[in-house]
C-alpha cells in the first residue's frame, strides 16, 4: 500500500468531532423533512451522574453492620408537614408517574400490583386514573398535570396523595405530544378527545400562572380533600434551588425533583438532550434549598431522573433525598429494549419487530410510535398482550427487591441501621465535575471545587 493510500484510508475513517455521524444524520434528516425528531425515553448523552460518586464503606474509623444478620430499616414517611394522612412506605423507592396512554393497561396494572406487594406507591401520570390502577394499588399518587386530562374530583377523593406536576426532567418548560397512533378509543375517552388524533398537552396549568397563585391552588386541593391528603409538587430540574424554595413557600408537603436523565413518552430530542440539569446537580440544589429554609425533614424530597440501582438510591439518600422515583428503569425491567417477549409461556424473538421500526433491542426509543415490540409503551391490542400483568408485576417486584437489597447492603456497609441515616459524609466524587455539582470532596482529598480550598 502506498503512502498516499495509507493517508486516504486514515482520512476515510476519521470522524469529525463537531460533525460526527449523529450530527450528520440530524442535519440531513432536518434538511430532508423539515421536522425535529420526537422520541421516547431519556437523554442518551453522557451526563455527570451517580456513577461519578462513590460511597465510603466502613473500615476502622467507622464500623459496618453485619450484612446478613443485622437489620436495616427502610420505612419511609412522606407528607408529614400538613396532611392528616401521610404516606407510609416499606421502602424508599417508588414508581414514577407514567400515564395510561403512554403505557398499556397491562403495564399500569403491573405497576399497581407490584407497588402494593412491595409496600410502595405508584403514580398515575397524564390521562387520569384507571379503575384497574386504583383497584390494584394500595397507595396511589394522583397527578394533577397542566393538561388536566381525566382529572376529576371523584378520583382526587380516591387518591392517597396528589402530585401537582409543574414540570418533567426530560422537558422542563415543555408540553407533551401523544401522537395519534397511541390515542386509542379508551385513551381518547379518558382524555375527552377524538380517537386517533395527536394529543397536545399544555406547558403550564390552565388556572394558575406563578408561585403566588400556586399557594392558592395547593390550598384548593387541601380544602378539596379536607387537609387529609399529602400534596406533592413535582418540578423538572432547572433552577432547582429557587423552584424548591417557592414550592415550600407554596405549602407543598413533598417535593419531587426530576432530573434531565428522566424519561418521557414522546418529546423533541432537542429538549431531552439540551434542556434542564442533571439529577445530581438538581438534588444538591434541592437539599440546599430545604436546608436554607430549615425545612429538611419537614418537607420530604423525592428525586427521580435516571435512578437505576440500589447504589444510585443509596447515593441519592446520602445526598439528602427521602425517597426516589423510578420510571425508565421500570420500563426496562418490564422488558423495554429486550430482544424477546413472553407470550403464553413461550419466549418469542422480537428482532423483526425492532427492525420494522428501524432499530434493535438495546437502542430502541420508539415509545412515541405505539409500536413497542415488547408491549410496554403501546395501545395496540395485539402488541399490548406481549406483557401479561402477572409477568410484569413479578418482574417489577424482582427489580425493586433487588434494588432495595442493594440499598440496605450498602447502608449496612456504611454502618447504618436505617437507610435514611446515610449522609453526605459517606460520599466522595470520582470527577471534579461531580464533586462540584454534588458538593462532596474529590475522592482521596478534602477538596470540593468552588467550595473549599485545595
Amino acid at each position: 500500500m502506498s503512502n498516499n493510500e495509507h493517508i486516504l484510508k486514515r482520512m476515510l475513517k476519521e470522524e469529525s468531532a463537531g460533525f460526527d455521524r449523529k450530527t450528520i444524520d440530524y442535519i440531513q434528516n432536518a434538511a430532508a423533512h423539515g421536522l425535529y425528531e420526537i422520541r421516547g425515553l431519556g437523554a442518551k448523552r453522557a451526563l455527570p451522574g451517580f456513577d461519578d460518586l462513590l460511597l465510603l464503606g466502613a473500615s476502622l474509623s467507622r464500623y459496618p453492620l453485619e450484612g446478613y444478620r443485622e437489620k436495616c430499616v427502610t420505612k419511609t414517611l412522606l407528607g408529614t408537614r400538613f396532611a392528616k394522612k401521610p404516606i407510609e412506605l416499606e421502602i424508599p423507592i417508588t414508581f414514577a408517574g407514567m400515564s395510561f396512554g403512554a403505557l398499556s393497561a397491562n403495564v399500569k396494572e403491573s405497576l399497581g400490583r407490584a407497588a402494593t406487594e412491595l409496600g410502595t406507591s405508584t403514580t398515575t401520570g397524564d390521562g387520569g386514573m384507571t379503575q384497574e390502577e386504583r383497584q390494584s394499588s394500595k397507595t396511589l399518587v394522583y397527578q394533577c398535570l397542566p393538561s388536566r386530562y381525566g382529572f376529576n374530583p371523584d378520583d382526587v377523593r380516591k387518591a392517597n396523595a396528589i402530585e401537582l406536576v409543574i414540570g418533567q426532567g426530560a422537558k422542563p418548560g415543555g408540553g407533551g405530544m401523544l401522537l395519534g397512533q397511541k390515542v386509542s378509543p379508551r385513551v381518547a375517552k379518558m382524555r375527552t378527545l377524538p380517537a386517533g388524533i395527536d394529543q397536545r398537552s399544555a406547558s403550564r396549568h390552565p388556572d394558575w400562572t406563578g408561585p403566588d397563585d400556586l399557594v392558592i391552588k395547593i390550598q384548593e386541593l387541601r380544602e378539596m380533600t379536607d387537609w387529609e391528603t399529602p400534596i406533592y409538587v413535582k418540578v423538572g430540574a432547572t433552577r432547582t434551588f429557587h423552584d424548591v424554595k417557592l414550592a415550600v413557600h407554596a405549602g407543598a408537603d413533598v417535593i419531587v425533583v426530576d432530573g434531565m436523565q428522566g424519561g418521557t413518552a414522546a418529546t423533541q430530542t432537542c429538549f431531552i438532550e439540551h434542556v434542564g440539569i442533571p439529577t445530581l446537580a438538581a438534588l444538591r440544589q434541592a437539599v440546599d434549598a430545604l436546608e436554607d429554609l430549615n425545612m429538611k425533614g419537614t418537607v420530604q424530597l423525592i428525586v427521580s431522573g435516571g435512578i437505576r440501582s440500589g447504589a444510585d438510591v443509596a447515593k441519592a439518600l446520602a445526598m439528602g433525598a427521602d425517597a426516589v422515583a423510578i420510571g425508565q428503569g421500570v420500563l426496562i425491567a418490564l422488558g423495554c429494549n429486550s430482544d424477546s417477549y413472553v407470550l403464553d409461556g413461550i419466549h418469542h424473538d422480537a428482532t423483526e419487530d425492532y427492525a420494522k421500526l428501524g432499530t434493535a433491542a438495546g437502542f430502541c426509543h420508539n415509545c412515541h410510535t405505539g409500536k413497542c415490540p415488547v408491549g410496554v409503551t403501546t395501545q395496540d391490542p395485539i402488541l399490548s398482550q406481549r406483557l401479561h400483568p402477572d409477568i410484569g408485576a413479578k418482574r417489577l417486584k424482582n427489580y425493586f427487591k433487588t434494588v432495595n437489597m442493594e440499598l440496605t447492603t450498602i447502608a449496612r456497609a456504611c454502618g447504618k441501621q436505617n437507610v435514611h441515616h446515610l449522609e453526605r459524609e459517606d460520599l466522595v466524587a470520582l470527577t471534579i465535575e461531580a464533586a462540584a455539582m454534588a458538593r462532596v470532596p474529590l475522592a482521596g482529598t478534602d477538596w470540593i471545587p468552588g467550595y473549599s480550598k485545595f
Binding site: 382529572f151 374530583p153 395527536d198 397536545r200 390552565p206 392558592i216
Partner: protein, 229 residues
C-alpha cells in the same frame, strides 16, 4: 333545618368547606348562605351535595372549583378559576369573573352575567359556559369539548387550538386563534344557543350569534404549521 348561614367574618373557610363535605348531607340542608366572603379563596370547592350555596359578596380564587353536584351562586364578582374542573351542577356569577373561568370544566353550566377575563373556558372538557358580557384573549384555548356562548365581544386569539368544543359569539371577535374558524350556523346551533340562553336567563336572539369551531388542521402533526402549535 333546611337553611343555614355561614358568616365568614366569624367562622373560617375550613369550617364552611368541612360542613359542606362532611355534615351537610346528614342534616337535610338544602341551602347554605355565605355572608362576608370578602374575597376568600376556595369557597365551596369540591361540593358534592345537591344543595344550593349562595355567596353574598365577592369570591376569591377557585370558587366552586371541582363542583360535582349542587348549585353555587355568587352575588358579586369571582376571582381566578371560578368553577375550574367543574363536573356537573351549576355555578352562577352575578358579577364579573377573573381569568380562567371554567378552566378544564367537564360538565355542568357556568353562567357569568358580567364580563370574563382572559382564558375563559381554557382546556374546556365538556361543560357549558354562558357569558353575558365580553371575554378576554385566548378564551377557549385548547377547549376539547363543550359549548361557550359569549353575548358580548371577544379578545384576541379566540378558540386557539380548539379541539371539538364550539364557541358562539354575539359581538365582535377581535381575532381568531390558530386553527379556529367561523362556520355557518345550523338549525341545531340556533336551538342549542337558545336553550343555553334560556338556562342562563338571558334574553338574546340566537340568530345574532356566530359559530366558531376547529378547522382540525392541527389534528395531525404538520411541520408547515410552524408556530401555530
Amino acid at each position: 333545618m333546611e337553611n343555614l348561614t355561614f358568616d365568614l367574618a366569624e367562622r373560617s373557610l375550613r369550617d364552611l368547606n368541612q360542613f359542606l363535605h362532611k355534615e351537610a348531607n346528614g342534616k337535610g340542608i338544602k341551602q347554605v348562605t355565605v355572608n362576608n366572603p370578602d374575597g376568600a379563596h376556595n369557597i365551596a370547592v369540591g361540593l358534592n351535595e345537591a344543595i344550593s350555596v349562595n355567596v353574598h359578596g365577592h369570591a376569591g380564587y377557585y370558587a366552586a372549583g371541582m363542583l360535582k353536584s349542587g348549585t353555587v351562586t355568587i352575588f358579586g364578582n369571582a376571582g381566578t378559576g371560578v368553577a375550574e374542573n367543574m363536573m356537573s351542577g351549576k355555578v352562577h356569577v352575578k358579577g364579573f369573573a377573573s381569568v380562567s373561568a371554567g378552566a378544564s370544566a367537564h360538565g355542568g353550566l357556568l353562567v357569568i352575567d358580567g364580563d370574563a377575563s382572559l382564558r375563559c373556558g381554557i382546556s374546556l372538557k365538556g361543560a357549558d359556559i354562558v357569558v353575558g358580557g365580553s371575554v378576554g384573549s385566548f378564551s377557549g384555548f385548547m377547549a376539547q369539548a363543550g359549548r361557550m356562548v359569549i353575548c358580548g365581544n371577544t379578545g384576541d386569539a379566540l378558540g386557539d387550538s380548539l379541539y371539538e368544543a364550539v364557541i358562539y359569539v354575539r359581538g365582535n371577535i377581535k381575532s381568531l386563534g390558530a386553527d379556529a374558524q367561523l362556520e355557518p350556523m345550523k338549525d341545531s346551533d340556533y336551538q342549542e344557543v337558545g336553550e343555553l340562553l334560556d338556562k342562563a336567563g338571558l334574553p338574546h336572539d340566537p340568530k345574532d350569534f356566530k359559530r366558531v369551531a376547529s378547522a382540525r388542521k392541527l389534528y395531525h402533526w404538520n411541520a408547515d404549521a410552524n408556530q401555530e402549535y
